[in-house]
């Protein structure tokens, strides 16, 4: 299925290095899009498919960490693999805390680079899967799910939605079934990965 070929977005201000990374990733079988700056990447239309970001840490104006922070803020975040000129521990800690998949030091060996990209793509696939499952929920099931995730008991949910507790139980069971979540924790993770706070209209 050629349309499922994941895209790696390479953002690096060094033309030569970016070209080389693009070639390597293409040779490894990925679709690649290169950007010479964070601004150029931000200007690109939102991407909803499978993919990840390979991001240079040190760039003029908007650097890698700042770009990551902006993307997280906009809840539009592909999994990120960072590339850095030197082993910068504080920067790597910050990046990982904000959800980066890996933090590599240049020059990075292709095995390490491709493994990191692979991990990032796997995380993206998981994200997309979760999104698809959540998309299958009905509006009422969605409402119940968000309240459940917020830690409310069935009785409280029933009172809030003005339905019986039994109805809530049915919805809840269907949510677990459709999302494939086996536990509340898994459900929380799924919703969290979606990067949304609360459903529209929820009190």
């Amino acid at each position: 299925m050629p349309e499922a070929k994941p895209t790696v977005f390479v953002v690096d201000d060094d033309d030569s290095l970016r070209r080389a990374l693009e070639r390597l990733l293409r040779a490894a079988g990925y679709a690649v899009e290169g950007f010479a700056s964070a601004q150029a990447y931000l200007a690109r239309a939102r991407y909803h498919g499978p993919g990840c970001l390979l991001l240079d840490l040190a760039m003029p104006e908007i650097d890698g960490l700042e770009l990551q922070a902006r993307l997280v803020h906009d809840a539009e975040v592909l999994p990120i693999v960072f590339l850095s000129g030197q082993a910068d521990i504080p920067a790597s800690v910050r990046a990982i805390k904000l959800g980066a998949v890996d933090f590599l030091t240049k020059p990075a060996d292709d095995d390490a680079l491709l493994a990191a990209v692979g991990a990032a793509l796997a995380r993206r696939a998981e994200q997309l899967q979760g999104q698809a499952r959540l998309a299958a929920l009905s509006a009422r099931e969605r409402e119940v799910m968000y309240l459940v995730v917020q830690g409310l008991r069935n009785k409280q949910i029933a009172a809030q939605l003005g339905v019986t507790e039994k109805t809530v139980k049915v919805h809840r069971a269907r949510v677990m079934e459709k999302t494939g979540a086996r536990s509340l924790a898994e459900l929380v993770r799924l919703v969290g990965g979606e990067g949304m706070g609360r459903p529209p209209g929820a009190v």
Binding site: D13, D14, S16, L17, R19, A20, L21, R23, L24, R26, A27, A28, P60, L83, G85, Q86, K106, P107, A108, D109, D110, L113
Partner: protein
């Protein structure tokens, strides 16, 4: 043979030498009163010795009496300076005792000049001439003792007590060597001089006065102390020299450290700059490996990879070259040459490069007689650097803008070389840093090159500046002092 005369003269000489030495020391350190006091007492002892010679050779009663008065005067000077010397040197607490001794001796002196035969005799009856075994004659006096002679004798006893007390105090205070030397020598002096003189006065001892000889003990003590302090001074001097050497070594170490840290900075900068091409070469090589593993390798892509690898390798090499240039200690040689010729020559070196990038070069080199006294090779490096920077800026520019202008201008006693390119100019955030050696930007190693230029130009007494032109493009200006005619 006049053994007495010889011995007393030697004694006087010894005392005088020590006295003069102490006096010179006092001149050098006028705030140290002990030197003046020891000088006074030593010189007084020398004078006493001379008076004693005169006494032993005197054969006239009136003269003998006058000489005794003078001996009292010299001993007065000796004792008074000695007692205050002890006070300062041994630091005794009792001030009244030396004051009393001084008072008693002042009284003695006044009384002594009041009586014709001094404070010693009320009347000198006769002078006895004696002969020694070696045939030398000397005189002693016989007469009625003056009751006032008790005053100096009491003073001598007080002096003995005072010195003993001060010595014990100094010993207890830990100044043992000084207590022994000063106190011991003075006690010896007081015992010999203070006992012998009354005995001679009383006619019990029929020998010449030997007060000055008694003082020799003090002379030796002072001489010892003097050489000892000189030795200590030389030790101090050696320690000072050693401390200075240590300080110098520390300073050199610091300089080494500073150089090392500059080197460290360089290495950090260069490592960062080298990392990019190295990372690119690695990624390209590994991409190529994967491409080659394919059943039908993409040769166009492989060719592009090889081109990039070559370029990146050159880029890395250039950085190392520039680093070496910056670190190199090249002796600069000044010579007189026309600037226009140098600029033209250097531009010729880049002719092929200019044509390859379709860059139009225009030269306005003014008067060929404008000469400078400067390091020719260094300046050529500067011009080369400025030109290659301009070419780099123009390579990516639209063809219509690919203009490079070199102009020489005369400006009150200086020549100014202006390099103008029609490129995109220097980014505003980079402009303030173009001459910083380690400012890294997308301009690659440009910063390092301009830092070298600045160093070279300033070493010739010139200046270099960079700014962007209103009509676009960068302008680099190098101003050098014009060579003086017939200089």
């Amino acid at each position: 043979m006049n053994l007495f005369v010889i011995a007393w003269s030697m004694c006087a000489g010894a005392c005088a030498v020590i006295g003069l030495t102490q006096f010179v020391l006092w001149l050098r350190e006028p705030d140290r009163g002990v030197y003046l006091l020891s000088a006074t007492m030593s010189l007084a002892a020398a004078a006493t010795a001379l008076v004693e010679i005169a006494l032993m050779k005197s054969n006239e009663i009136a003269r003998y009496g006058r000489l005794l008065q003078w001996e009292n005067a010299t001993v007065f000077a000796l004792i008074v300076s000695l007692v205050w010397f002890v006070h300062l040197r041994l630091g005794s607490r009792r001030r009244w005792l030396p004051a009393l001794i001084t008072l008693l001796w002042c009284t003695t002196l006044v009384i002594s000049f009041f009586f014709p035969s001094s404070i010693v005799f009320s009347e000198i009856v006769r002078l006895d001439a004696h002969a020694t075994a070696w045939g030398e004659s000397y005189t002693t006096a016989v007469g009625t003792l003056n009751p006032w002679v008790l005053v100096p004798n009491i003073a001598s006893l007080l002096m003995l007590a005072y010195v003993a007390d001060a010595s014990v105090q100094a010993w207890r205070a830990g100044k043992r060597l000084r207590a022994l030397l000063v106190g011991g020598s003075i006690i010896v002096f007081m015992l010999l001089g203070g006992i012998q003189a009354p005995l001679i006065d009383a006619g019990l001892l029929r020998i010449p006065y030997m007060i000055s000889f008694a003082f020799l003990a003090i002379v030796f003590a002072l001489a010892y102390e003097l050489t000892d302090s000189t030795r200590r001074a030389s030790i101090l001097e050696r320690q000072r020299a050693e401390a200075l050497a240590d300080a110098r070594e520390a300073h050199e170490g610091f300089e080494r450290l500073a150089r090392a840290s500059l080197l460290g900075e360089l290495v950090t900068g260069i490592a960062h700059e080298l990392n990019q091409p190295l990372a690119a070469i690695l990624a390209n090589a590994q991409a190529a490996k994967r491409l080659l593993a394919a059943p039908a390798p993409d040769f166009d892509e492989l060719r592009a990879i090889v081109d990039d690898v070559v370029r990146d390798d050159k880029r890395a090499g250039e950085m190392i070259h520039r680093l070496r240039e910056l670190l190199q200690k090249r002796a600069s040689q000044r010579e007189r040459f026309p600037l226009a010729a140098l600029v033209r020559e250097t531009a010729d070196l880049l002719h092929a490069e200019l044509r390859a990038h379709d860059i139009r070069l225009s030269l306005e080199l003014g008067d060929p007689a404008w000469t400078v006294d400067a390091d020719r090779v260094g300046l050529q490096q500067v011009v080369l650097n400025l030109l290659s920077n301009a070419i780099r800026a123009l390579r990516e520019a639209p063809e219509a803008d690919r203009q490079l202008k070199l102009r020489l201008e005369r400006r009150n006693g200086a020549v100014r070389l202006i390099v103008i390119d029609g490129g995109p100019g220097i980014a505003p955030e980079v402009l303030p840093h173009v001459f910083d050696p380690f400012y890294t930007s997308n301009m690659g190693s440009l910063g390092m090159g301009l830092a070298i230029c600045k160093r070279i130009v300033e070493a010739q007494g010139g200046t270099i500046e960079a700014h962007n032109r209103a009509d676009g493009g960068a302008e680099l200006g190098v101003t050098l002092p014009m060579a003086k005619r017939n200089a």
